[in-house]
């Protein structure tokens, strides 16, 4: 890729030098033209040089944009999506440039002779050239898309019909030719004229299709006849849209011119290329959006889009008819299969979800069971422990009772022994008292004798 670009580098350099040279020359000639405009008559050679430099500039830029597009495509190919490349298309700069050059009003207020063809006033032409370059502007149903589709469908149809039904093939060819031409037209008026021709031709062909020759499939004739009617409907809505776009473009063009004049009158001329592009875009957008926001436009656009889709469905039907005798799978069969697969997937998903929910329920039940079992075991162990503790306590109580009984018995014994001892002591005391008494009596007697 780098090599490719290196090859282009010299050309670009030369181009830029030429561009600057021509621009300078053009500016000088224009200056001279203005300075001499009062009274002095210019030589034809001067005019020749003046025009030459302007057309040279135009030519320069035309080549530049085409080579630039080629380079952009080459350098960006593989780097960004092809759809983006379609949009990164600078060829419309050429349109701007051409119009900008031709619209330049010379110093002193003299109109540039190259601007006499209308320039920016021809907004419709600009719009059309835009469409022709396959830019997506207003081209949802651009001629190339429609005729491409048509070629594919009718190619299949022709292939399936073979040589035997040449009368029918002629109708298909005629239909395709007319249809393509209508969308190649660059004005609503042109389209309208072609559509009138198409209508006449359709009426003529209807005769053949309503009473087809022997051997021609009647069902196919009927479908073909319907396609023609739908085509007429589509073309009519297309014409209405084209008329509206043209009228709106015209209105927008006038508005743009007015704004340019206003700026010039205020001594603030829009002299930069990018400014003039911006003004053009802004003024056009304002006018278009005003129209596009109405219910009437929505209805018109809806009719156009719906008619296009109806026609496409009919073409699909014709293509299916063409494929019926072949072993190739039909779109409707594939759609049925896809719908069934989709429903099966959906059922499978529902089933998986239910299964997951059931699994969750089961898991939760299992967890609850485990928890309950754990609790039961714990309770059992607690009962056992309580029983053991109770038994221990009972044993301890028994032992305590026994010990208490033994102690009581001992105490009783001791009490009894003490009682006996007391009794014994009492007996002894009695005896001792007697002895004492006896001893006391004897002593008194002795004492008296001594006295």
């Amino acid at each position: 890729m780098q090599d490719f670009f290196k090859q282009q580098a010299d050309w670009l350099k030369t181009w830029q030098e030429n561009q600057e040279k021509l621009t300078k020359q053009y500016a000088e000639l224009s200056q001279e033209f203005v300075e001499n405009i009062s009274g002095k008559k210019k030589e034809p050679d001067f005019f020749e040089g003046w025009f030459k430099s302007q057309s040279g500039l135009e030519e320069q830029f035309r080549e530049f944009t085409s080579r630039m597009n080629e380079m952009i495509n080459n350098t960006l190919g593989g780097k960004i999506h092809p759809d983006v490349l379609k949009f990164v298309n600078i060829s419309f700069f050429e349109e701007f440039y051409k119009n900008w050059l031709s619209n330049l009003e010379l110093p002193g207020g003299m109109k540039n002779p190259l601007g006499m063809d209308g320039g920016w006033q021809q907004a419709t032409s600009f719009l059309r050239s835009f469409l022709e370059k396959d830019h997506p502007f207003f081209s949802t149903f651009s001629s190339s898309t429609i005729t491409d589709q048509m070629s594919r469908v009718f190619g299949m149809l022709q292939g399936a019909l073979g040589q035997e039904e040449s009368a029918f093939s002629n109708i298909v060819n005629g239909y395709q030719d007319f249809f393509s031409k209508i969308f190649e037209s660059t004005t609503a008026q042109g389209t309208e004229k072609l559509a009138e021709g198409f209508e006449k031709w359709t009426k003529e062909m209807e005769k053949h299709l309503s009473a087809p020759k022997l051997g021609i499939n009647r069902e196919l004739s009927h479908d073909m006849s319907q396609a023609m009617v739908m085509s007429q409907n589509f073309i009519q809505t297309y014409i209405k849209m084209a008329r509206l776009v043209e009228a709106t473009s015209r209105k927008a063009g006038i508005r743009f011119q007015t704004k340019l004049s206003e700026s010039a009158l205020k001594n603030k001329p829009v002299n930069k290329f990018s400014d003039i592009c911006a003004l053009w875009a802004v003024e056009n957008e304002t006018v278009f959006l005003e129209v596009m926001g109405t219910q009437e436009f929505a209805k018109l656009q809806g009719d156009f889009v719906n008619a296009g889709h109806q026609l496409k469905i009919q073409w699909n039907k014709l293509a299916e008819k063409a494929l019926e005798p072949t072993p190739i799978a039909l779109k409707r069969d594939l759609d049925l299969a896809i719908a069934e697969i989709h429903q099966m997937k959906r059922d499978m998903k529902t089933f998986q979800r239910e299964l997951r929910a059931k699994e969750n329920e089961a898991r939760m039940a299992r967890e609850a069971q485990t928890a309950a079992e754990e609790e039961a075991n714990k309770a059992k162990a607690a009962v056992k422990a309580a029983e053991a503790a109770a038994q221990d306590e009972a044993k301890k109580a028994k032992a305590a009772v026994n010990a208490a009984e033994t102690a009581a018995k001992d105490e009783a014994k001791k009490a009894r022994a003490a009682e006996a001892a007391v009794e014994k002591l009492a007996e002894r005391a009695k005896t001792d008292t007697k002895t004492v008494k006896a001893a006391t009596g004897a002593s008194t007697k002795t004492k008296s004798k001594n006295v």
């Binding site: 490719f4 380079m71 949009f87 700069f93 330049l104 009003e105 001329p269 219910q295 889709h309």
Partner: protein, 371 residues
């Protein structure tokens, strides 16, 4: 129009500068690495190379169901909130907007505030997702993810943050399972669809979504993008690229611009049945605020949202007009509802300089006060 000679010369010189920027831009484009928008899954991290420095925050895949994945982001703060946060992004575009690059990452900012962040990646819908319904997404994967996180953290409820359509899904979830949501944070979330403040709402009334889904099956992401581009047709298709030229000379700014572009056009197709339901029931029927929306046979009552709610919306949003998001505050049953607004657009809420600094701290502060 040019009326002065010096202005005339000036304008030509200015154009030469413009053209020189373009030239320099091409040189820069040649030197820019692969442009990624918050995607680093394929890159082995070293932590120091240019890719690492520009890539998204590290995350781990923790749960998966087909192409739908649940990621948990690697923690960056010392103290981490014990209640994790689940982020639910929209099916439209990719969650990488929340982690576009290190200096534009709401996720990184939340992690720095100590939040424990989980995020749902819906993946890229393909033909096999044609029949996926809102029930599959909300009752299915969001609920599975919430249950997974609750189980991992042994919590009854977690914090839920929904973005845009993901916010609407989260609102429905919070109304159906309030016991599983501790705090609810809807961001730029459409709730009331009956408004004329956005072109999308005006246009939705007139087109037949049944025809669209029947014609395409899954609705192409490109088609969705074109509808969004039409909301500001000239700004987004023309002006944006004119404005790109002056920044092309700065390779870092150019890479940032392209990274954003990569995100914008990284648009998964929309599963047909879900889009049919979303447009018919909500955009056209406005059943959520009417209390008529049913999911899986159950009525979704916004009054069931009784947990604390932090309603965040953008004042300049053209996709989800403020009036649509603001309706949340009026319809929920919670007594603790706060609003947080910024003067930015839908995307600016996640990438603008102002929100980068203050949004995550405010969210974290609000959550921490309610734990």
């Amino acid at each position: 129009m040019l009326t002065f000679p010096h202005k005339f010369k000036e304008s030509l010189e200015d154009f030469n500068k413009f053209a020189a920027n373009l030239r320099k831009g091409v040189e820069n484009l040649a030197s820019i690495d692969e442009i990624l928008a918050g995607q680093s899954d394929s890159h082995e991290r070293c932590g120091s190379c240019r890719s690492c420095l520009r890539s998204c925050t590290e995350k781990e895949l923790v749960y998966q169901d087909g192409k739908r994945k649940l990621y948990r982001y690697k923690q960056r703060a010392k103290k981490v909130c014990h209640v994790p946060m689940l982020i639910v992004y929209a099916l439209v575009n990719r969650y990488t907007m929340l982690d576009l690059q290190p200096n534009r990452s709401m996720i990184r900012n939340l992690l720095d505030q100590g939040q424990d962040v989980y995020l749902i990646d819906w993946g890229y819908a393909d033909r096999m997702d044609r029949f996926m319904t809102m029930e599959d997404y909300i009752d299915g994967f969001i609920n599975d993810c919430v249950d997974f996180i609750r189980e991992q953290h042994q919590l009854d409820a977690i914090n839920l943050l929904g973005v845009c359509q993901g916010g609407t899904f989260s609102t429905i979830y919070a109304a159906l399972y309030p016991e599983k949501v501790k705090n609810f944070i809807p961001m730029v979330t459409p709730i009331d669809f009956d408004t004329k403040d956005s072109l999308l709402n005006v246009w939705a009334s007139s087109f037949d979504v049944d025809l669209m889904v029947d014609a395409y099956g899954n609705v192409p992401g490109d088609m969705m993008n074109q509808a969004y581009t039409l909301l500001q047709p000239f700004t987004l298709s023309v002006q944006k690229y004119v404005n790109m030229v002056p920044i092309m000379e700065d390779s870092d700014k150019l890479a940032d611009f392209l990274r954003m572009e990569t995100w914008i056009f990284d648009s998964p197709d929309q599963p047909g049945e879900t889009l049919r339901q979303f447009i018919k029931e909500l955009y056209q029927g406005n059943k959520l605020v009417k209390g008529e929306f049913m999911l899986g046979g159950r009525k979704v009552e916004l009054k069931n949202i009784t947990m604390p709610v932090l309603n965040i919306y953008a004042e300049l949003d053209t996709l989800v007009p403020p009036v649509s998001a603001k309706a949340m505050t009026k319809h929920v049953g919670s007594k603790d509802v706060q609003e947080l607004t910024y003067p930015v657009g839908h995307i600016g809420m996640f990438v603008s300089g102002k929100t980068q600094k203050t949004l995550a701290p405010k969210i974290a502060e609000w959550i921490n006060a309610r734990l």
